[in-house]
């Protein structure tokens, strides 16, 4: 090995650095702090209120920090022997049941449809696909009257069936769109290989495609679940019997019956938010993917 000598010419000068402060970066930081306060403050106040007594909450000027923090609002909600606890837990269970059923049925219906939209070129494919997507355009309220009549005709008013059937449809367009994106990304050669290896078309789908698209299935599931859990308008209209109510509607009963019990309401609101926030935090990656898929690629 020989090395090639290099020397800095004697006349070379080193200009003084001209890097200035990055105002953009600092502006961004300040902005983020502002957003964080804007986001967190309401949630923090909800929590603080929920550990106050009724007396402490209704003071002016407010107690910025609860003088005597208490968990009684929570224990009351979660105590199955009390009337409030019994009611709350029932709503909670109803919400859970409806959301889970919606999610499972939604996946069962969306997967084959998305697969067909991704793989087959049948006449009317584009039209049907857009028709399904357009569901996102229609506000729930617009459908209330005819759906209410339909549910009455089907004998589903005051049953969870009415909610599950309805919720299916707002999960579906997104699920189909999302899953189609996933299927599009699975090379068709994998299925072809499986079919040559002796699998039927269905086996190729079940054994090869399904496992590969599980992130998509998880993503759509979270979305369906959260959507169903949070839904208010249909539940508010279709359910009038107390024992069938879901949380968003049931909570309103608390509010009207105990009109001034703000700490109790805040505690209930918090409890209602826990499942979806936990679900979101645990599966954040999939959730974000579900949200942005489709709109961002190309």
């Amino acid at each position: 090995m020989t090395s090639i000598p290099a020397s800095i010419p004697a006349e070379a000068v080193r200009p003084t650095a001209t890097r200035s402060i990055d105002w953009w970066r600092w502006g961004g930081r300040v902005f983020l702090v502002f957003l964080l306060i804007f986001t967190v403050l309401p949630m923090a106040w909800m929590l603080l209120t929920s550990i106050k007594t009724q007396f402490a909450a209704l003071q002016y000027p407010p107690q910025w920090w609860p003088a005597e923090p208490t968990l009684q609002n929570y224990t009351r909600l979660l105590d199955p022997s009390g009337s409030i606890g019994k009611e709350f837990l029932l709503y909670f269970w109803n919400s859970f049941y409806v959301s889970l059923a919606t999610t499972i049925l939604g996946v069962a219906v969306a997967v084959p449809a998305a697969y067909a939209f991704s793989r087959f070129r049948f006449p009317g494919r584009t039209f049907l696909f857009f028709a399904v997507l357009l569901r996102n355009m229609f506000p729930a309220v617009v459908f209330l009257v005819p759906l209410f009549l339909l549910m009455r005709w089907l004998g589903l008013v005051n049953t969870h069936g009415s909610l599950i059937l309805t919720y299916l449809t707002f999960g579906l367009p997104l699920s189909i769109w999302l899953l189609k994106g996933f299927f599009d990304n699975i090379p068709i050669q994998l299925e072809q290989a499986a079919r040559i290896d002796g699998a039927t078309r269905f086996q190729a789908f079940l054994l090869i495609v399904m496992p590969l698209s599980s992130p998509g299935i998880i993503a759509t599931s979270i979305f369906s679940f959260i959507g169903a859990w949070n839904e208010y308008v249909y539940a508010y209209t279709f359910l009038s019997k107390q024992e069938t109510m879901t949380l968003p509607v049931g909570i309103q009963r608390f509010f009207t019956e105990f009109a001034t019990d703000w700490p109790g309401l805040m505690a209930a609101t918090f409890m209602m938010s826990v499942p979806v926030v936990v679900l979101f935090l645990v599966l954040q990656k999939y959730f974000v993917r579900a949200l942005t898929e489709g709109a961002v690629k190309h």
Partner: protein, 365 residues
């Protein structure tokens, strides 16, 4: 093993004919390369043989069965894909076992066959890995292994080497060739690389635009290309094609260029040139059949050097002749410079003549 017959096979997507009335027979144990430029319908043809897409017309026979209406799984074929198509969520072992599982073989037999195939391909140490943990070459072997475990009647391969780097490609080329010889397997091998086809295949089927152009041994295709497309596709560097015009001078026939020079033809070539539909005749010459002179000799035509590419043992030169560029190979000792005027002498026995109108090779009779 079995023979494969394609009879009048057609596949169209609307008005696009991906495969247009292709007929050919692959004999039992033969290695046939399906070759042509990208988009000419090779993959589609292979997929039709495999039964992966429905046919628009024609029949496919494997062995003694007309398989046109059978599912891929019932055709008893194996296929290697260009991007390998290994199941990404399965280990190498499970990838190899999958075709056997689908055929409901007992577990111990599956294990025996997988181990045997792994041994042949020297991938035993990789069996527990996932495909993404393998290099391109290793993935390629696994894909080959998945085809081998099953002892099918026909092997279909769709550009199996085109994702490998040049060195690995040469090595795998000989391995595939070797395994074909050992198994006496019937192989249909798709490639866009004519060199692969020429070096590996017993016969090559040259396709273009959905049509089968020529189906023959590589030597015959090389020596007697049926048309200008095949002539320019097979061989490297490509055969040079110079569009000229045929003129009759008494009993002699010559080719003239727009620049005014004339190239007298031998009696055999003259008869060919006269068979053309019009005076337009295209002269084809392979790089090794032309001589380069620094000064005029009888029967030579003028040209001008364009580029010179020394490769070590051979120097390739491109020379402007009339409106075309002519490839020539030279001994490294020959010294020429770009833009130097030179003279080109053609070998009358080895030159090709094509009908400028129909693009077909001209025959003497």
């Amino acid at each position: 093993m079995a023979q494969v017959v394609l009879k009048d096979v057609v596949k169209n997507y609307g008005n696009v004919y991906a495969v247009n009335h292709v007929s050919l027979t692959v004999e039992d144990g033969e290695f046939v390369a399906l070759v042509g430029p990208s988009g000419c319908g090779k993959t589609t043809t292979l997929n039709l043989v495999a039964g992966l897409i429905p046919m628009s017309g024609g029949d496919v026979v494997i062995g003694d069965r007309i398989v046109t209406d059978l599912d891929p799984k019932d055709r008893d074929i194996a296929m290697v894909f260009q991007n390998y198509a290994l199941y990404p969520n399965k280990t190498v072992y499970r990838n190899l076992a999958f075709p056997l599982q689908m055929r409901k073989l007992p577990k111990d037999e599956i294990d025996k066959k997988v181990q045997a195939a792994a041994k042949v391909l020297d991938i035993t140490h990789l069996l527990e890995r996932k495909p993404r943990e393998l290099s391109g070459g290793q993935q390629q072997r696994v894909a080959l292994g998945r085809a081998l475990v099953r002892d099918p009647r026909v092997f279909l391969m769709d550009e199996p080497l085109s994702n490998l780097d040049a060195k690995l490609r040469v090595q795998m080329r000989s391995e595939i060739k070797r395994f074909h010889q050992d198994l006496h397997a019937t192989v249909i091998y798709v490639t866009h690389d004519q060199l692969e086809a020429v070096t590996m295949a017993d016969k090559m089927a040259v396709m273009n635009g959905g049509f089968l152009q020529q189906y023959d041994s590589p030597a015959n295709v090389f020596a007697n290309p049926v048309n200008m497309f095949v002539a320019s596709f097979v061989g490297s560097p490509a055969m040079s094609l110079i569009p000229l015009a045929a003129v009759t001078r008494g009993t002699e026939v010559a080719l003239t260029s727009p620049e005014g020079w004339e190239l007298p033809l031998s009696p055999a070539n003259a008869r060919k040139a006269l068979n053309a539909k019009s005076p337009k005749v295209v002269l084809g010459a392979r790089h090794s059949t032309v001589k380069l002179h620094k000064s005029q000799v009888p029967g030579s035509v003028p040209g001008k050097v364009y580029t010179v590419e020394p490769t070590g043992d051979i120097t390739f030169a491109q020379v402007f002749v009339s409106s075309a560029i002519l490839n020539i190979s030279l001994a490294p000792s020959v010294q020429i410079r770009p833009d130097e005027p030179v003279f080109i002498e053609f070998d009358q026995d080895k030159m090709h003549l094509f009908d400028g109108e129909t693009e077909m090779a001209l025959k003497a009779d």
